[in-house]
């Protein structure tokens, strides 16, 4: 993962932690998934509204570290407007690309938490 050479705790990431995008709930979601990181107890609930095979809205809530919160914030931004079938084939690398920083093995789970919630939401 040498290509992602930015600082983890850079201002961009910390801003997503302080003011996460798409934080909250959807009144009538079409898909809901949740995931927990057993290493630290962090948890996330991801809600989606998929209309005409496209993501019309996405929200998340839960508690997490700066890394998992920023990852969820960036990832939900990425998800919004995507066709449903794209969501079925999201690789781990999509999230690492959004974070743009080298991630140690112990913290991979933080970055990937929102993806694991998405996979549960759409039954992948």
């Amino acid at each position: 993962m040498d290509k992602y050479d930015q600082e983890i705790y850079r201002e961009e990431i910390l801003e997503h932690y302080r003011h996460p995008q798409n934080f909250g709930a959807i009144i009538k979601p079409t898909h809901v998934g949740s995931s927990e990181n057993p290493l630290c107890g962090d948890s996330i609930i991801l809600e989606l509204s998929i209309k005409n095979k496209k993501v019309s809205d996405v929200r998340f809530r839960g508690s997490g570290c700066a890394l998992s919160t920023a990852s969820a914030s960036l990832f939900t931004e990425w998800i919004k407007g995507k066709p449903e079938k794209t969501l079925k084939n999201v690789s781990d690398d999509v999230l690492f690309q959004l974070i743009k920083a080298p991630i140690t093995p112990m913290r991979r789970g933080c970055v990937l938490l929102p993806l694991s919630a998405l996979r549960k939401a759409i039954n992948v």
Binding site: C40, G41, C110
Partner: protein, 413 residues
């Protein structure tokens, strides 16, 4: 602040730091994760290296000179551990793979003596290594587990403990000192009360062993366990102390070579203590390394260790209290307290906090520290933990405080 280095304790700590290769070669590192594992003393590494280079042979088997010497070196450490714990006899000292292995051996053995419906009393400040084996045994044997709660100050609820003893538990498993709160339990009184209620008592001394002298005869505990790697010795070796009559009553845990008296096609009779519990080739070099660690502690002496660590405890508590937004878990006073400090910083996730402190060369633990039940009592999923040892200094604590303030500024912007 630098003047503190010039006290006699200060001079000694400089010399002690030089005796730990990892500490010596990382002058910018403040190693504050001693409750998880300590660094290794030079003499430990040398003893293990010398054993493998010059003295390696199977213990307890062969009669050639090299093997006799290896057996002698291994068994000498048993005598050292007997002295370290003031056990009555050397047969009461069993070498295991560590505290977790010791507890599993005891739980397996003792649960065989119990019957369905018997109660086991544990505490909310136990490490998972005490709780999980008993939960597994409880399912298998139909036992009931009770937990002693902790007080708001982070000490064990003594009144609740006595009340729970009225349920007549057959076994009490209790930590000498909490790996999160730093609390040192009034263990002698707890053991006395548990005995009056008719329970067998196991003391988890994994945290206390590097900090407090232990005397198993005076405590009168039935079992006591600790690990080599937390007392400046190697990984992979631990100790189980048990009263002889109990060790004779419980069955072996690991079956195989060395732990037998006679094997025929029909049956096996088991060896006497301590061999009965040491099946298989033991971690010989690790046991010898443990012997070196015990010799090091003896040379430094409890007087110095207690004085140095009490000063550090007092100092660290004073400094941590000054940090705005820091919530300390566990007792705020230094009395009956180890230099272990778990805390949260408002708005800072423990993993972010420890990752950011690491950037300033400060190694602290972030997470639940294998005590999820305890963290649940505080409605927390984790905390940051600073745990100090024989080589830590007030200057390092000062660096920590500055670094914590930096973390707060960085996260909150």
């Amino acid at each position: 602040m630098n003047k503190q280095r010039q006290t006699s304790n200060g001079v000694k700590v400089v010399s002690i730091r030089r005796q730990f290769p990892l500490i010596r070669s990382n002058p910018k590192l403040a190693y504050f994760d001693n409750a998880a594992t300590s660094q290794k003393h030079e003499s430990v590494l040398k003893a293990m290296d010398r054993f493998y280079r010059r003295e390696n042979a199977p213990v307890h088997r062969s009669v050639y000179e090299l093997a006799e010497k290896a057996t002698g070196a291994y068994e000498k450490v048993r005598d050292q551990v007997r002295v370290f714990l003031n056990a009555r006899t050397r047969e009461e000292i069993i070498f295991t793979a560590g505290t977790t292995a010791s507890i599993n051996l005891i739980v397996q053995g003792v649960s065989g003596l119990l019957k369905k419906g018997d109660r086991i009393l544990l505490t909310d400040m136990e490490h998972h290594s005490m709780i999980v084996p008993w939960q597994a045994a409880a399912i298998k044997e139909g036992l009931h587990l009770d937990y002693v709660p902790i007080t708001a100050e982070g000490r064990l609820g003594i009144a609740a403990f006595r009340k729970l003893l009225k349920r007549q538990p057959k076994f009490v498993g209790i930590t000498h000192a909490s790996n999160v709160l730093g609390t040192v339990n009034p263990i002698r009184e707890l053991i006395r009360d548990a005995h009056r209620a008719g329970a067998i008592v196991l003391v988890d001394a994994a945290q206390s062993a590097p900090h407090i002298p232990i005397n198993v005869q005076s405590l009168d505990c039935d079992f006591l366990v600790f690990s080599g790697h937390k007392i400046y010795g190697p990984n992979g070796v631990g100790v189980l102390y048990g009263k002889k009559e109990l060790l004779e009553r419980i069955p072996p845990y690991i079956f195989g070579g060395h732990m037998i008296e006679r094997v025929t096609r029909e049956k096996t009779t088991y060896a006497e203590l301590p061999a009965k519990f040491e099946g298989g080739t033991p971690p010989t070099a690790e046991v010898i390394g443990l012997g070196a660690a015990l010799a090091f502690l003896r040379k430094i002496g409890w007087k110095h260790i207690r004085k140095h660590e009490n000063e550090l405890t007092n100092y660290t508590l004073r400094q941590l209290k000054k940090v705005i937004g820091l919530r300390l878990l566990g007792p705020a006073s230094a009395a009956d307290r180890l230099p272990i400090f778990s805390f949260t910083l408002a708005g800072v996730h423990p993993h972010d906090g420890s990752a950011l402190l690491d950037k300033d060369g400060i190694a602290v633990r972030g997470g639940h520290h294998c005590t999820q039940i305890l963290h649940d009592q505080y409605s927390l999923s984790g905390s940051m933990r600073v745990s100090l040892g024989i080589y830590n200094t007030k200057n390092e604590v000062d660096r920590l405080i500055i670094a914590i303030k930096k973390v707060q500024k960085k996260i909150h912007g």
